[in-house]
Symmetry: C2
Subunit: 220 residues, 2 copies
Amino acid sequence: MGTREKRVTERGKKPAVSKIEASRITRDVLIEAAQAIMSERGGVDFTLSEVGNRAGMSAALVQYHFGSKEGLLFASFEQGIGRSLDQLRWLSELKLPAAKKLRMHIGGVVSAYMQKPFTNRLLHLLIDGATNEKAQRVADVYILPIVNFHRDLISQGVEEGVFRPISEMHFYFLLVGACEHFASRKHVLRYVFNVDDVEDAMRQDYADFVYGVVMNGIAA
Amino acid sequence: MGTREKRVTERGKKPAVSKIEASRITRDVLIEAAQAIMSERGGVDFTLSEVGNRAGMSAALVQYHFGSKEGLLFASFEQGIGRSLDQLRWLSELKLPAAKKLRMHIGGVVSAYMQKPFTNRLLHLLIDGATNEKAQRVADVYILPIVNFHRDLISQGVEEGVFRPISEMHFYFLLVGACEHFASRKHVLRYVFNVDDVEDAMRQDYADFVYGVVMNGIAA
Protein backbone atom coordinates (compact mmCIF):
# COMPACT_ATOMS: atom_id res chain seq x y z
CA MET A 1 0.00 0.00 0.00
CA GLY A 2 2.92 2.37 0.80
CA THR A 3 3.94 2.88 -2.82
CA ARG A 4 0.39 3.34 -3.97
CA GLU A 5 -0.34 6.00 -1.33
CA LYS A 6 2.80 7.84 -2.34
CA ARG A 7 1.78 7.77 -5.98
CA VAL A 8 -1.58 9.31 -5.08
CA THR A 9 0.06 12.20 -3.23
CA GLU A 10 2.62 12.87 -5.95
CA ARG A 11 0.02 13.07 -8.69
CA GLY A 12 -1.68 15.90 -6.86
CA LYS A 13 -5.30 16.99 -7.31
CA LYS A 14 -7.06 13.98 -8.80
CA PRO A 15 -6.98 10.74 -6.80
CA ALA A 16 -5.01 8.21 -8.89
CA VAL A 17 -6.78 5.30 -7.23
CA SER A 18 -10.46 5.12 -8.08
CA LYS A 19 -12.97 4.08 -5.44
CA ILE A 20 -13.40 0.74 -7.17
CA GLU A 21 -9.68 0.11 -7.30
CA ALA A 22 -9.24 1.16 -3.68
CA SER A 23 -11.95 -1.28 -2.70
CA ARG A 24 -10.26 -4.06 -4.68
CA ILE A 25 -6.92 -3.32 -3.03
CA THR A 26 -8.47 -3.35 0.43
CA ARG A 27 -10.13 -6.70 -0.33
CA ASP A 28 -6.81 -8.13 -1.56
CA VAL A 29 -5.00 -6.97 1.55
CA LEU A 30 -7.67 -8.51 3.79
CA ILE A 31 -7.65 -11.78 1.83
CA GLU A 32 -3.87 -11.90 2.11
CA ALA A 33 -4.12 -11.37 5.87
CA ALA A 34 -6.71 -14.17 6.18
CA GLN A 35 -4.57 -16.52 4.07
CA ALA A 36 -1.49 -15.76 6.15
CA ILE A 37 -3.42 -16.61 9.33
CA MET A 38 -4.83 -19.82 7.81
CA SER A 39 -1.39 -20.92 6.61
CA GLU A 40 0.08 -20.35 10.08
CA ARG A 41 -2.71 -22.16 11.89
CA GLY A 42 -3.34 -24.84 9.29
CA GLY A 43 -7.07 -24.21 9.57
CA VAL A 44 -9.92 -21.75 9.40
CA ASP A 45 -10.08 -21.04 13.11
CA PHE A 46 -9.91 -17.23 13.17
CA THR A 47 -12.13 -14.18 13.77
CA LEU A 48 -12.81 -11.18 11.55
CA SER A 49 -11.14 -8.97 14.18
CA GLU A 50 -7.93 -10.97 13.90
CA VAL A 51 -7.93 -10.50 10.15
CA GLY A 52 -8.57 -6.78 10.57
CA ASN A 53 -5.77 -6.50 13.14
CA ARG A 54 -3.31 -8.30 10.91
CA ALA A 55 -4.11 -5.92 8.04
CA GLY A 56 -4.21 -2.81 10.25
CA MET A 57 -7.92 -2.35 9.63
CA SER A 58 -11.09 -2.69 11.66
CA ALA A 59 -13.30 -5.77 11.93
CA ALA A 60 -16.15 -3.56 10.67
CA LEU A 61 -14.28 -2.99 7.42
CA VAL A 62 -13.84 -6.75 7.00
CA GLN A 63 -17.55 -7.16 7.62
CA TYR A 64 -18.29 -4.41 5.07
CA HIS A 65 -16.21 -6.00 2.32
CA PHE A 66 -17.15 -9.66 2.79
CA GLY A 67 -20.42 -9.65 4.71
CA SER A 68 -19.40 -12.54 6.92
CA LYS A 69 -16.61 -14.95 7.69
CA GLU A 70 -18.08 -17.32 5.08
CA GLY A 71 -17.84 -14.52 2.52
CA LEU A 72 -14.20 -13.95 3.40
CA LEU A 73 -13.47 -17.70 3.23
CA PHE A 74 -15.10 -17.91 -0.18
CA ALA A 75 -13.16 -14.92 -1.50
CA SER A 76 -9.89 -16.44 -0.16
CA PHE A 77 -10.73 -19.71 -1.79
CA GLU A 78 -11.55 -18.11 -5.14
CA GLN A 79 -8.34 -16.14 -5.10
CA GLY A 80 -6.36 -19.28 -4.19
CA ILE A 81 -7.93 -21.49 -6.82
CA GLY A 82 -8.18 -18.88 -9.59
CA ARG A 83 -4.58 -19.09 -10.68
CA SER A 84 -4.67 -22.89 -10.66
CA LEU A 85 -7.70 -22.95 -12.95
CA ASP A 86 -6.01 -20.44 -15.26
CA GLN A 87 -2.95 -22.71 -15.43
CA LEU A 88 -5.18 -25.68 -16.22
CA ARG A 89 -6.84 -23.85 -19.11
CA TRP A 90 -3.45 -22.77 -20.42
CA LEU A 91 -2.08 -26.32 -20.14
CA SER A 92 -5.11 -27.85 -21.85
CA GLU A 93 -4.59 -25.61 -24.89
CA LEU A 94 -0.89 -26.36 -25.29
CA LYS A 95 0.08 -28.54 -28.25
CA LEU A 96 2.08 -31.10 -26.32
CA PRO A 97 2.12 -34.92 -26.05
CA ALA A 98 -0.19 -36.29 -23.32
CA ALA A 99 2.74 -37.64 -21.27
CA LYS A 100 4.35 -34.20 -21.14
CA LYS A 101 1.03 -32.59 -20.16
CA LEU A 102 0.59 -35.19 -17.42
CA ARG A 103 4.02 -34.38 -15.99
CA MET A 104 3.33 -30.64 -15.99
CA HIS A 105 -0.12 -31.16 -14.50
CA ILE A 106 1.20 -33.26 -11.60
CA GLY A 107 3.95 -30.73 -10.91
CA GLY A 108 1.34 -27.96 -10.92
CA VAL A 109 -1.08 -29.76 -8.61
CA VAL A 110 1.62 -30.67 -6.05
CA SER A 111 2.93 -27.08 -6.11
CA ALA A 112 -0.53 -25.56 -5.79
CA TYR A 113 -1.37 -27.68 -2.75
CA MET A 114 2.00 -26.98 -1.13
CA GLN A 115 1.66 -23.22 -1.63
CA LYS A 116 -1.96 -22.96 -0.47
CA PRO A 117 -2.62 -26.04 1.64
CA PHE A 118 -5.80 -24.44 2.98
CA THR A 119 -7.43 -24.02 -0.43
CA ASN A 120 -8.66 -27.57 -0.71
CA ARG A 121 -9.74 -27.72 2.91
CA LEU A 122 -11.71 -24.53 2.28
CA LEU A 123 -13.34 -26.01 -0.81
CA HIS A 124 -14.64 -28.99 1.11
CA LEU A 125 -15.68 -26.87 4.07
CA LEU A 126 -17.66 -24.64 1.74
CA ILE A 127 -19.35 -27.58 0.02
CA ASP A 128 -20.08 -29.45 3.26
CA GLY A 129 -21.83 -26.46 4.75
CA ALA A 130 -23.70 -25.51 1.56
CA THR A 131 -27.20 -26.13 0.25
CA ASN A 132 -27.43 -28.67 -2.60
CA GLU A 133 -27.71 -25.91 -5.18
CA LYS A 134 -24.70 -24.03 -3.92
CA ALA A 135 -22.65 -27.22 -3.57
CA GLN A 136 -23.52 -28.09 -7.16
CA ARG A 137 -22.39 -24.64 -8.31
CA VAL A 138 -19.07 -24.94 -6.43
CA ALA A 139 -18.52 -28.40 -7.90
CA ASP A 140 -19.34 -27.19 -11.42
CA VAL A 141 -17.04 -24.19 -11.24
CA TYR A 142 -14.07 -25.62 -9.35
CA ILE A 143 -13.97 -29.42 -9.65
CA LEU A 144 -15.55 -30.17 -13.01
CA PRO A 145 -12.81 -28.30 -14.98
CA ILE A 146 -10.19 -30.63 -13.46
CA VAL A 147 -12.24 -33.74 -14.28
CA ASN A 148 -12.82 -32.46 -17.84
CA PHE A 149 -9.11 -31.81 -18.21
CA HIS A 150 -8.40 -35.38 -17.06
CA ARG A 151 -10.94 -36.78 -19.53
CA ASP A 152 -9.35 -34.89 -22.45
CA LEU A 153 -5.86 -35.89 -21.32
CA ILE A 154 -6.80 -39.58 -21.15
CA SER A 155 -8.43 -39.41 -24.61
CA GLN A 156 -5.37 -37.75 -26.06
CA GLY A 157 -3.04 -40.32 -24.47
CA VAL A 158 -5.18 -43.22 -25.70
CA GLU A 159 -5.19 -41.74 -29.24
CA GLU A 160 -1.41 -41.33 -29.10
CA GLY A 161 -1.18 -44.97 -28.01
CA VAL A 162 0.63 -44.15 -24.75
CA PHE A 163 -2.22 -44.57 -22.17
CA ARG A 164 -4.62 -47.46 -21.76
CA PRO A 165 -8.30 -46.41 -21.53
CA ILE A 166 -9.20 -45.68 -17.90
CA SER A 167 -12.06 -44.07 -16.01
CA GLU A 168 -11.59 -40.34 -15.44
CA MET A 169 -13.29 -40.75 -12.07
CA HIS A 170 -10.68 -43.28 -10.92
CA PHE A 171 -7.92 -41.16 -12.36
CA TYR A 172 -9.17 -38.01 -10.60
CA PHE A 173 -9.30 -39.62 -7.16
CA LEU A 174 -5.94 -41.33 -7.41
CA LEU A 175 -4.10 -38.32 -8.78
CA VAL A 176 -5.63 -35.60 -6.63
CA GLY A 177 -5.56 -37.83 -3.53
CA ALA A 178 -1.86 -38.60 -4.00
CA CYS A 179 -0.94 -34.93 -4.57
CA GLU A 180 -3.11 -33.48 -1.83
CA HIS A 181 -2.13 -35.96 0.86
CA PHE A 182 1.55 -35.06 0.67
CA ALA A 183 0.77 -31.35 1.03
CA SER A 184 -1.86 -31.59 3.74
CA ARG A 185 -0.31 -34.03 6.22
CA LYS A 186 2.37 -31.88 7.81
CA HIS A 187 2.27 -33.80 11.08
CA VAL A 188 2.85 -37.13 9.29
CA LEU A 189 5.90 -35.60 7.66
CA ARG A 190 7.05 -34.21 11.00
CA TYR A 191 6.29 -37.03 13.42
CA VAL A 192 6.86 -40.03 11.16
CA PHE A 193 9.45 -38.89 8.62
CA ASN A 194 11.20 -36.13 10.63
CA VAL A 195 10.60 -33.55 7.93
CA ASP A 196 9.81 -30.09 9.27
CA ASP A 197 9.91 -28.14 6.04
CA VAL A 198 9.27 -29.44 2.57
CA GLU A 199 11.93 -27.88 0.39
CA ASP A 200 11.60 -27.42 -3.36
CA ALA A 201 13.79 -30.42 -4.15
CA MET A 202 11.64 -32.69 -1.96
CA ARG A 203 8.44 -31.43 -3.56
CA GLN A 204 9.96 -32.02 -6.99
CA ASP A 205 11.05 -35.54 -5.96
CA TYR A 206 7.54 -36.37 -4.88
CA ALA A 207 6.00 -34.96 -8.09
CA ASP A 208 8.52 -37.01 -10.12
CA PHE A 209 7.58 -40.12 -8.15
CA VAL A 210 3.84 -39.62 -8.70
CA TYR A 211 4.45 -38.98 -12.39
CA GLY A 212 6.58 -42.13 -12.71
CA VAL A 213 4.01 -44.33 -10.98
CA VAL A 214 1.00 -42.90 -12.82
CA MET A 215 2.71 -42.84 -16.23
CA ASN A 216 3.88 -46.47 -15.93
CA GLY A 217 0.66 -47.39 -14.18
CA ILE A 218 -1.64 -46.30 -16.99
CA ALA A 219 0.74 -47.05 -19.89
CA ALA A 220 -0.90 -48.72 -22.90
CA MET B 1 -28.13 -54.93 25.28
CA GLY B 2 -31.43 -56.78 25.33
CA THR B 3 -29.96 -60.28 25.04
CA ARG B 4 -27.33 -59.60 27.64
CA GLU B 5 -29.83 -58.32 30.19
CA LYS B 6 -31.98 -61.42 29.67
CA ARG B 7 -28.98 -63.68 30.26
CA VAL B 8 -28.28 -61.92 33.55
CA THR B 9 -31.83 -62.50 34.75
CA GLU B 10 -31.92 -66.13 33.67
CA ARG B 11 -28.73 -67.03 35.48
CA GLY B 12 -30.27 -65.93 38.76
CA LYS B 13 -28.40 -64.95 41.94
CA LYS B 14 -24.93 -64.01 40.82
CA PRO B 15 -24.69 -61.18 38.29
CA ALA B 16 -23.35 -62.77 35.11
CA VAL B 17 -21.93 -59.47 33.94
CA SER B 18 -19.14 -58.20 36.16
CA LYS B 19 -18.83 -54.50 36.87
CA ILE B 20 -15.84 -54.29 34.58
CA GLU B 21 -17.64 -56.04 31.74
CA ALA B 22 -20.74 -53.87 32.22
CA SER B 23 -18.55 -50.81 32.02
CA ARG B 24 -16.92 -52.10 28.84
CA ILE B 25 -20.32 -52.80 27.27
CA THR B 26 -21.59 -49.32 28.16
CA ARG B 27 -18.48 -47.79 26.62
CA ASP B 28 -18.97 -49.83 23.44
CA VAL B 29 -22.60 -48.78 23.14
CA LEU B 30 -21.67 -45.13 23.58
CA ILE B 31 -18.82 -45.38 21.07
CA GLU B 32 -21.19 -47.00 18.58
CA ALA B 33 -23.68 -44.16 19.09
CA ALA B 34 -20.96 -41.55 18.55
CA GLN B 35 -19.72 -43.33 15.41
CA ALA B 36 -23.26 -43.55 14.00
CA ILE B 37 -23.71 -39.79 14.54
CA MET B 38 -20.31 -39.03 12.96
CA SER B 39 -21.05 -41.23 9.94
CA GLU B 40 -24.41 -39.51 9.41
CA ARG B 41 -23.00 -36.01 9.73
CA GLY B 42 -19.66 -36.63 8.08
CA GLY B 43 -17.94 -34.83 10.92
CA VAL B 44 -17.33 -34.50 14.63
CA ASP B 45 -19.92 -31.83 15.22
CA PHE B 46 -21.95 -33.35 18.09
CA THR B 47 -22.54 -32.95 21.83
CA LEU B 48 -22.20 -35.50 24.62
CA SER B 49 -25.96 -35.16 25.25
CA GLU B 50 -26.70 -36.21 21.68
CA VAL B 51 -24.56 -39.30 22.10
CA GLY B 52 -26.29 -40.11 25.39
CA ASN B 53 -29.72 -39.62 23.81
CA ARG B 54 -28.89 -41.89 20.89
CA ALA B 55 -27.76 -44.62 23.29
CA GLY B 56 -30.64 -44.08 25.72
CA MET B 57 -28.26 -42.87 28.44
CA SER B 58 -27.50 -39.57 30.13
CA ALA B 59 -24.83 -37.06 29.12
CA ALA B 60 -23.45 -37.47 32.66
CA LEU B 61 -22.77 -41.14 31.97
CA VAL B 62 -20.91 -40.23 28.79
CA GLN B 63 -18.89 -37.74 30.80
CA TYR B 64 -18.20 -40.40 33.45
CA HIS B 65 -16.91 -42.95 30.95
CA PHE B 66 -14.83 -40.72 28.68
CA GLY B 67 -14.11 -37.60 30.73
CA SER B 68 -14.68 -35.26 27.78
CA LYS B 69 -15.62 -35.12 24.14
CA GLU B 70 -11.93 -35.47 23.28
CA GLY B 71 -11.85 -38.68 25.35
CA LEU B 72 -14.85 -40.04 23.47
CA LEU B 73 -13.32 -39.08 20.12
CA PHE B 74 -10.09 -40.81 21.02
CA ALA B 75 -11.90 -43.97 22.15
CA SER B 76 -13.94 -43.98 18.91
CA PHE B 77 -10.79 -43.56 16.90
CA GLU B 78 -8.97 -46.36 18.71
CA GLN B 79 -11.87 -48.70 18.21
CA GLY B 80 -12.11 -47.76 14.53
CA ILE B 81 -8.42 -48.14 13.82
CA GLY B 82 -7.81 -51.20 16.05
CA ARG B 83 -9.18 -53.74 13.61
CA SER B 84 -7.26 -52.20 10.71
CA LEU B 85 -3.96 -52.44 12.60
CA ASP B 86 -4.75 -56.06 13.53
CA GLN B 87 -5.35 -56.82 9.84
CA LEU B 88 -2.07 -55.16 8.94
CA ARG B 89 -0.15 -57.31 11.45
CA TRP B 90 -1.88 -60.42 10.17
CA LEU B 91 -1.12 -59.50 6.54
CA SER B 92 2.53 -58.73 7.28
CA GLU B 93 3.02 -62.21 8.72
CA LEU B 94 1.42 -64.08 5.81
CA LYS B 95 3.79 -65.99 3.57
CA LEU B 96 2.65 -64.49 0.27
CA PRO B 97 4.35 -62.81 -2.70
CA ALA B 98 4.70 -59.03 -2.35
CA ALA B 99 2.32 -58.35 -5.27
CA LYS B 100 -0.43 -60.39 -3.61
CA LYS B 101 0.14 -58.62 -0.28
CA LEU B 102 -0.04 -55.25 -2.05
CA ARG B 103 -3.39 -56.17 -3.61
CA MET B 104 -4.83 -57.28 -0.26
CA HIS B 105 -3.45 -54.21 1.49
CA ILE B 106 -5.03 -51.80 -1.02
CA GLY B 107 -8.37 -53.62 -0.78
CA GLY B 108 -8.18 -53.41 3.02
CA VAL B 109 -7.30 -49.72 3.12
CA VAL B 110 -10.07 -48.71 0.69
CA SER B 111 -12.60 -50.81 2.65
CA ALA B 112 -11.48 -49.46 6.00
CA TYR B 113 -11.85 -45.86 4.84
CA MET B 114 -15.23 -46.54 3.23
CA GLN B 115 -16.57 -48.20 6.37
CA LYS B 116 -15.27 -45.63 8.83
CA PRO B 117 -14.68 -42.46 6.84
CA PHE B 118 -14.43 -40.47 10.06
CA THR B 119 -11.48 -42.47 11.45
CA ASN B 120 -8.81 -40.71 9.49
CA ARG B 121 -10.37 -37.30 9.99
CA LEU B 122 -10.39 -38.05 13.72
CA LEU B 123 -6.74 -39.06 13.65
CA HIS B 124 -5.69 -35.77 12.14
CA LEU B 125 -8.00 -33.79 14.38
CA LEU B 126 -6.44 -35.48 17.40
CA ILE B 127 -2.90 -34.83 16.20
CA ASP B 128 -3.57 -31.22 15.16
CA GLY B 129 -4.94 -30.36 18.58
CA ALA B 130 -2.29 -32.27 20.54
CA THR B 131 0.93 -31.33 22.28
CA ASN B 132 4.13 -32.43 20.50
CA GLU B 133 4.54 -35.37 22.85
CA LYS B 134 1.01 -36.62 22.37
CA ALA B 135 1.16 -36.12 18.61
CA GLN B 136 4.38 -38.12 18.54
CA ARG B 137 2.72 -40.93 20.51
CA VAL B 138 -0.30 -41.01 18.18
CA ALA B 139 2.01 -41.06 15.13
CA ASP B 140 4.12 -43.86 16.65
CA VAL B 141 1.14 -46.03 17.53
CA TYR B 142 -1.11 -45.48 14.51
CA ILE B 143 0.90 -44.26 11.50
CA LEU B 144 4.34 -45.81 11.97
CA PRO B 145 3.02 -49.41 11.71
CA ILE B 146 1.66 -48.63 8.23
CA VAL B 147 4.93 -47.05 7.13
CA ASN B 148 6.89 -50.01 8.52
CA PHE B 149 4.59 -52.40 6.69
CA HIS B 150 5.20 -50.46 3.46
CA ARG B 151 8.97 -50.54 4.00
CA ASP B 152 8.92 -54.34 4.51
CA LEU B 153 6.63 -54.81 1.51
CA ILE B 154 8.91 -52.77 -0.76
CA SER B 155 11.98 -54.72 0.44
CA GLN B 156 10.24 -58.01 -0.18
CA GLY B 157 9.13 -56.93 -3.67
CA VAL B 158 12.61 -55.69 -4.55
CA GLU B 159 14.12 -59.01 -3.36
CA GLU B 160 11.58 -60.93 -5.42
CA GLY B 161 12.56 -58.78 -8.40
CA VAL B 162 9.01 -57.45 -8.94
CA PHE B 163 9.30 -53.90 -7.51
CA ARG B 164 11.89 -51.25 -8.23
CA PRO B 165 13.43 -49.67 -5.09
CA ILE B 166 11.31 -46.69 -4.01
CA SER B 167 11.01 -44.42 -0.99
CA GLU B 168 8.55 -45.69 1.61
CA MET B 169 7.62 -42.07 2.32
CA HIS B 170 6.61 -41.47 -1.30
CA PHE B 171 4.81 -44.80 -1.38
CA TYR B 172 2.89 -44.03 1.84
CA PHE B 173 1.59 -40.66 0.62
CA LEU B 174 0.59 -41.87 -2.82
CA LEU B 175 -1.15 -45.02 -1.62
CA VAL B 176 -2.94 -43.64 1.43
CA GLY B 177 -3.83 -40.41 -0.39
CA ALA B 178 -5.37 -42.31 -3.31
CA CYS B 179 -7.37 -44.64 -1.03
CA GLU B 180 -8.53 -42.00 1.43
CA HIS B 181 -9.56 -39.45 -1.16
CA PHE B 182 -12.09 -41.74 -2.77
CA ALA B 183 -13.69 -42.53 0.60
CA SER B 184 -13.71 -39.03 2.04
CA ARG B 185 -14.99 -36.93 -0.87
CA LYS B 186 -18.65 -37.87 -0.92
CA HIS B 187 -19.70 -34.54 -2.38
CA VAL B 188 -17.27 -34.90 -5.29
CA LEU B 189 -18.84 -38.29 -6.02
CA ARG B 190 -22.31 -36.77 -5.70
CA TYR B 191 -21.98 -33.42 -7.44
CA VAL B 192 -19.41 -34.29 -10.10
CA PHE B 193 -19.92 -37.99 -10.82
CA ASN B 194 -23.60 -38.38 -9.83
CA VAL B 195 -22.81 -41.19 -7.41
CA ASP B 196 -24.90 -41.09 -4.24
CA ASP B 197 -23.90 -44.42 -2.74
CA VAL B 198 -20.69 -46.31 -3.29
CA GLU B 199 -21.67 -49.92 -3.74
CA ASP B 200 -19.33 -52.83 -3.13
CA ALA B 201 -18.66 -53.37 -6.83
CA MET B 202 -17.65 -49.73 -7.26
CA ARG B 203 -15.36 -49.88 -4.24
CA GLN B 204 -13.78 -53.04 -5.61
CA ASP B 205 -13.34 -51.41 -9.05
CA TYR B 206 -11.51 -48.51 -7.49
CA ALA B 207 -9.27 -50.79 -5.39
CA ASP B 208 -8.47 -52.80 -8.55
CA PHE B 209 -7.63 -49.61 -10.41
CA VAL B 210 -5.29 -48.38 -7.65
CA TYR B 211 -3.64 -51.80 -7.48
CA GLY B 212 -3.16 -51.86 -11.27
CA VAL B 213 -1.62 -48.39 -11.37
CA VAL B 214 0.64 -48.89 -8.35
CA MET B 215 1.74 -52.40 -9.34
CA ASN B 216 2.65 -51.35 -12.89
CA GLY B 217 3.91 -48.03 -11.61
CA ILE B 218 6.53 -49.49 -9.27
CA ALA B 219 7.30 -52.62 -11.32
CA ALA B 220 10.99 -53.50 -11.56
